[in-house]
Assembly symmetry: D2
Homo-oligomer: 301 residues x 4
Amino acid sequence: MIDAHRLVGVFPPVPTPFNENGAIYKDGFKQNFEFWNQHDLSGYLVLGSNGEAVLLDSREKTTLFEVARRNIPENKLMLIGTGCQSTKETIELTNGGASIGADAAVVLSPFYYKGLMKQEVLVKHFHAVADAATIPIIIYNMPACTGMDLSAETVAAIADHENIIGIKDSGGNMVKMQAINTLVKKPFSILAGSGSFLLPGLAVGASGGILALSNIAPQFCCRLYSLFRNGEISAATSLQNRLTPLNSAITSRWGVPALKAAMEMMGLYGGPVREPLLSFEESLKPTLKQIIDKALNIHAN
Amino acid sequence: MIDAHRLVGVFPPVPTPFNENGAIYKDGFKQNFEFWNQHDLSGYLVLGSNGEAVLLDSREKTTLFEVARRNIPENKLMLIGTGCQSTKETIELTNGGASIGADAAVVLSPFYYKGLMKQEVLVKHFHAVADAATIPIIIYNMPACTGMDLSAETVAAIADHENIIGIKDSGGNMVKMQAINTLVKKPFSILAGSGSFLLPGLAVGASGGILALSNIAPQFCCRLYSLFRNGEISAATSLQNRLTPLNSAITSRWGVPALKAAMEMMGLYGGPVREPLLSFEESLKPTLKQIIDKALNIHAN
Amino acid sequence: MIDAHRLVGVFPPVPTPFNENGAIYKDGFKQNFEFWNQHDLSGYLVLGSNGEAVLLDSREKTTLFEVARRNIPENKLMLIGTGCQSTKETIELTNGGASIGADAAVVLSPFYYKGLMKQEVLVKHFHAVADAATIPIIIYNMPACTGMDLSAETVAAIADHENIIGIKDSGGNMVKMQAINTLVKKPFSILAGSGSFLLPGLAVGASGGILALSNIAPQFCCRLYSLFRNGEISAATSLQNRLTPLNSAITSRWGVPALKAAMEMMGLYGGPVREPLLSFEESLKPTLKQIIDKALNIHAN
Amino acid sequence: MIDAHRLVGVFPPVPTPFNENGAIYKDGFKQNFEFWNQHDLSGYLVLGSNGEAVLLDSREKTTLFEVARRNIPENKLMLIGTGCQSTKETIELTNGGASIGADAAVVLSPFYYKGLMKQEVLVKHFHAVADAATIPIIIYNMPACTGMDLSAETVAAIADHENIIGIKDSGGNMVKMQAINTLVKKPFSILAGSGSFLLPGLAVGASGGILALSNIAPQFCCRLYSLFRNGEISAATSLQNRLTPLNSAITSRWGVPALKAAMEMMGLYGGPVREPLLSFEESLKPTLKQIIDKALNIHAN
């Protein structure tokens, strides 16, 4: 069983590859892992928001976990996204993935009945999942999708369970990250949920990040991480400022369709998105290409 | 096939009855319909937000539709909630329900990738569903749960399809309801999505409502509707003001757990909610009872 | 001293007329009052948000009150906007206006330190103003400008003072209006703060409205009010739906610059706005004219 | 005339001292400057949000500038807050302060008519101020008070004027700070607007901060700044995490009343706040004292 100390460094939240018929395309997934595995990544998140998790059925999720497991080497972690609206379904998906060999589950807060998601309700949900789960649990706070932002106090109350080892926080609130750091009294890892604030996140105590950007530019994300670790802050600031426009383009600005288009541009398998998502607009591709080039063609740096 | 003119009057969004083991309790459902069918309701919505739709799996949804179909008489409409994040799954659930005998589907806007839900994306999604569906489609706007509020312009663009006949709008924005009325150039019904604004909704052109309150107080909701239709505005204003605290209690304030507790208090089958929702707190039951009594014991009015 | 029962019907929040040099233009103000006074308006609000109050200095405010007083006949109320961030300044402006002959003051909630504006703070502020004021006080809730929305509970707590007689609520939340109605246990008038929700506001218990639209179309606003009072709801619904696009145009969509442009189009004195506001764009004037024509040329109705 | 390169390091936004009668207390101000001047602060902001600027009249503002000028040594900058809702008033206050000897003006975006504050309007306002001003202008973005958050694109468009040299950004959005850095193509300083995100702000390219915390703990703020500059990131992270609860207490949590109470606890002159603000609650003072002690009694670090 892994613990919080393993949650360090850079993890890509891998996209789910579909073929032209909309089915999961295992060979595309394998091809991508062959690229990713060459880099100094700490592991992978399968079925995060970038993995179109909410658009898959449970059989497809199982298939995806199995294919991922075959392609992830032992020295890298396999994290799986398993948060559903219902507690029961979350537990089933978590333990299904655990039996396939996942190392930990990243559990999105339930959010549909957001008016009712008081701290007590969330704590009971996460603790029920953590009690039943056969692998460790990582909290997933994703306000841009859930429309709900976990407070530091709620995170700390949820974290008070031996089987809950960290949080992926995609909110981007540095004050909250510090408050979580201060309020949680045990080993507990904070992973920045976006490449747009990896460096400031590290500066306030995050131990790494789960970054869409690391799907297409793992070497740059790993370099940013190591510049920080080595105290080369000025270079880190430059690199962070340079990468952010690209990370924003494939997340908050244009989302998964742009991420998949960028993967194609980088020679990886991208493929179609699932409806209602629409393929990245042809007319925007030159702009995306420019953003990629500007961010990644860093000769002098 | 029904058209917009049938979407008038009061529809309860029926709760899903579970037994003590958490399974769907068909007899409880039947018992509730026996009560509801005695009143002047125009029909029912099965698997709305009050029906805990997001907490059910697809087999349970089918079961629920079948039981509802057996208990809804021919002269009342059976509306079904079928909106999922994925277009494909929404179509499958809609046509599955249609084959069981549903009259129309109430389709929640997809919302997880809210940053990407531009008008074009939503129009394509709803039109794909409306094209494939064998029954008419009603748009469902539910900002309190989705964290996303459809604009009047987007609703009008979506409405421009012959198989889309109305909207359930739970946003409570009277200016938007008027804008929808003005922008949609065809027969199209607006149903108020909450008993807390049925009367003002009717005043700006809604044709009825899908009201949690009508689960426990169908006669009062129908009376409010007919007072308005008869131009007895002063009495309608009084009644609306009297009912709103109760409707708020079982929706925005305390939600489905309170609705189910209130059903028990009214002699209907309520039963447990599904986790992560928690049963209505015992200590609050006297308060809820008082709110019910104050709203419904209207002797002089 | 007026009481809550006088706060019924339609009140225009009059714009402040500037000449081409940016100074207050008394003759323009007089000319507008000559038009307004011919209609069945209940009174006027001088220095509301439409009066560019926050852009005037205190000497200008006094001048404006004096000119208004000379032009408002005895049978119509003169309401004045006097809410400032500081309690002391609010009191001084209120009593300055009272000494000029104003009938009541409409006091915007202080809002700059919105994080600190807890109910206790707001109650103390409004009660201090109401204690010191020599005329009655009307609460002004204007979330679109203040970024802060008074809760019904806070309004009820503030209202618990004999010198506070009503509220201008520009929030447009019909459920809140009802809650205020229910929670305030004394004669207390709710005035709809926008012509876009006058009818639904009346339907839930408002007694009238302070409506930008009534500056340019007093007869239509008064007619909408009387249709409602006479129970002619179907005609009222039509008229409300017809007027709303115009009211929205001169408020939420394009604001004071459009209101002043529309006044010019109607033969009233409009004149320039004060910077940072910019004059209504020439290129949009034909669109505004069309919106006016569509709303007001109601031959068949 | 100063330029962007002077906007580095730590600046306290000094509170306005009132005596028990509510008048400006010059001796208290002088006493505080005697303390502050002993530390390595880069200068002061007089009449920021912490200076209760919106609660003062124009004569009081002038007095305050004069007293500050006499107490600020030549080697430290005197920044003054001069943003008003009206362009004209902003210019007058800016040049009035300039004639007293201020070095630069921090201009809050106008915000009352927030629906109308499009980029074009804001650019014209800021450029009109910058054209007329006899000292350089610093943009002030303060969403928590204004209810309006300047986009990076708007900041870059405003910044395109030779007399605009920087921004105080109190929003706390690290991605926006980077975007400003990237979009502005000239020397331009970003000052973190809160001690709760000084370190992450520096990590993404800010050059310093205007920090409420530096009123009571200038040495700790200056130390955090220099730890970062020296690449001692691990120590900086610890110190930032330690100081944030105190900075939050005197800003977002309890605001100016707590700041003044904390000043008293530190032996500085605090004094009363102006209404509607209420003095810090006696019952909370022990909690505030604990927060101070925990943050500042850093023996081993």
